[in-house]
């Protein structure tokens, strides 16, 4: 089932982008997502461009942003002193990702680019529009307990699997992309595409374009990530949520919320945010806002439980993070 590929080691960013311009090329860094896909016949590049040696693994603290190189390992980002101190929600999401072995290999950029864990996508015996465009979706009428209730289309209901992406969206992160014609920067939220009629396209990344860095704004705010899963560790989220908020005088000055395990891309909880902006920190207000978390949800046969689970997850997260008396 596996197909052979050629190998080229990129020497710098420019070289990587140049090598990737040829059709059939794919970037590989940590390899933790690529190799299982390749072994299952779900990726069949003619050429692998090894970007693992590029100078993109540093984590840099600037005045206004924290810059995480795309090749920083998940374990290194999770253990970085500034991330642990200033962005606990990010550190928690990283430590809740995969296993220690995978966290030592997988890169931040690769994690954001990882493909869905939908069983019908991974199982070649089933129709899947993401794997073979136009072939149909086996999950909509199939086993869909794990699938999305938000952002779905008639073509695809697969959940986005990344914990990290959820935390970064809540923290208002941006990504820097490098292509043949230069660099561009956009909000991570806008990096991921809804499946629509083209679920095979998951990000705005153009062919041969390289994700080079993630930028997280620095601000005195609280943050936390809460992940619910079917076993205690090394498991994808059934439901997860991340909050980042600034408190002032007993009120919520600013707040951003995102959810995972429930949507086709990291899901911003706009209705909750609107209800909480300026709100006083009492449980009734948090509970009322949490009830809006699944607004617009379209559950499938097997995943209706995620509506209430998402609401309760958000409430628990807000109560734990905002009401407990810790600084700032």
């Amino acid at each position: 089932m596996t197909s052979p590929f050629a190998y080229a080691r990129a020497t710098d960013e420019q070289d990587a982008v140049r090598l990737a311009a040829q059709p059939g090329a794919t970037f590989v860094a940590g390899g933790t997502d690529f190799l299982p896909l390749w072994k299952a016949g779900l990726a069949a590049p003619s050429r692998v461009i090894d970007i693992g040696r590029l100078d993109l693994d540093r984590i840099e603290v600037r005045d206004d942003v924290l810059v995480i190189g795309a090749l920083a390992r998940l374990a290194d980002a999770a253990g970085h002193p500034s991330i642990r101190r200033e962005l606990p929600g990010l550190a928690q999401a990283l430590l809740a990702s995969a296993s220690p072995q995978v966290r030592n290999m997988a890169t931040v950029g690769g994690n954001l680019m990882q493909r869905t864990r939908c069983l019908y996508f991974r199982g070649a015996d089933f129709a899947c529009n993401k794997r073979v465009p136009g072939s149909g979706c086996s999950a909509i009428e199939g086993e869909n307990r794990q699938h999305a209730i938000l952002g779905t289309s008639s073509a695809c209901v697969a959940t986005h699997p990344s914990d990290l992406a959820v935390a970064l969206v809540a923290l208002g992160a941006s990504v820097r992309l490098r292509g043949a014609s230069g660099e561009r920067r956009l909000a991570l939220e806008d990096f991921f595409l809804l499946p629509g009629d083209t679920p095979e396209r998951e990000t705005v990344l153009a062919a041969g374009e390289l994700l080079v860095a993630v930028e997280v704004p620095r601000a005195p705010r609280r943050s936390a990530y809460l992940k619910l899963r079917d076993r205690a560790s090394f498991e994808f989220a059934v439901v997860s949520a991340c909050v980042a908020a600034e408190l002032r005088d007993g009120r919520i000055a600013t707040i951003r919320l995102a959810a995972g395990g429930v949507a086709t891309r990291p899901w911003r909880l706009n209705a909750c945010e609107a209800a909480l902006a300026g709100a006083r920190l009492d449980d009734a207000a948090l509970r009322a806002a949490s009830a809006l978390a699944a607004e617009g949800a379209r559950p499938l046969g097997g995943n209706g439980f995620k509506v209430e689970l998402l609401q309760r997850t958000v409430h628990r997260l807000l109560a734990d993070v905002l009401v407990t008396p810790t600084s700032p």
């Binding site: 052979p4 390899g31 299982p36 374990a75 296993s99 072995q101 030592n104 290999m105 560790s233």
Partner: protein
């Protein structure tokens, strides 16, 4: 640049010995340990990063050898289970696995030991007590289908609390 089916030349150190090898561009580090270096101690379980049987230390950090492309390992230092005992004496962790009966069929054991070595090396863990809950969380990348988990945790507690 290699063409499909062609090989990539790499130099790497395994258990203290340097090797120069011409490996297939798509070979994993796990397959190279088995097929090129005659080191069968590192086990292939799921071959997709889920079970941890293939855990080795790569530049002193635990990784899944089944998820590592051999071609990417130029210049790296690898430690496998075959390199853990020194001068014929078992590593204290290996001795603890035996003393605690921390295995049944033994297939996952090399990966368990390499993962626990990685755990003990992380964050200067030798200098502090590691709690059972922390061990369980940190060993979640290693499955044991015989279910020897309780004794595996005990063996790691023993080894981590004894002077190295």
């Amino acid at each position: 640049m290699s063409m499909p089916n062609e090989t990539v030349e790499i130099g790497l150190t395994v258990n203290g010995r340097s090797h120069r090898l011409a490996v297939p561009a798509s070979a994993t580090l796990l397959d190279v340990l088995h097929d090129f270096l005659a080191l069968p101690g590192t086990k292939k379980g799921c071959d997709m990063g889920s079970c941890g049987a293939c855990t080795v230390l790569l530049d002193a950090r635990r990784v899944n050898a089944c998820l590592a492309l051999a071609a990417q390992q130029e210049g790296r230092e690898i430690l496998t289970i075959e390199g853990v005992a020194e001068g014929g004496a078992l590593h204290p962790l290996q001795a603890a696995f035996i003393a605690r009966d921390a295995l049944q069929c033994g297939y996952c054991t090399p990966g368990q030991i390499m993962s626990a070595l990685g755990l003990m090396a992380e964050g200067g863990a030798q200098n502090r007590a590691i709690g059972e809950a922390e061990i369980r969380e940190s060993m979640s990348g290693n499955l044991c289908r015989c279910g020897a988990y309780a004794n595996i945790v005990s063996a790691i507690v023993d080894a981590a609390s004894s002077p190295a």
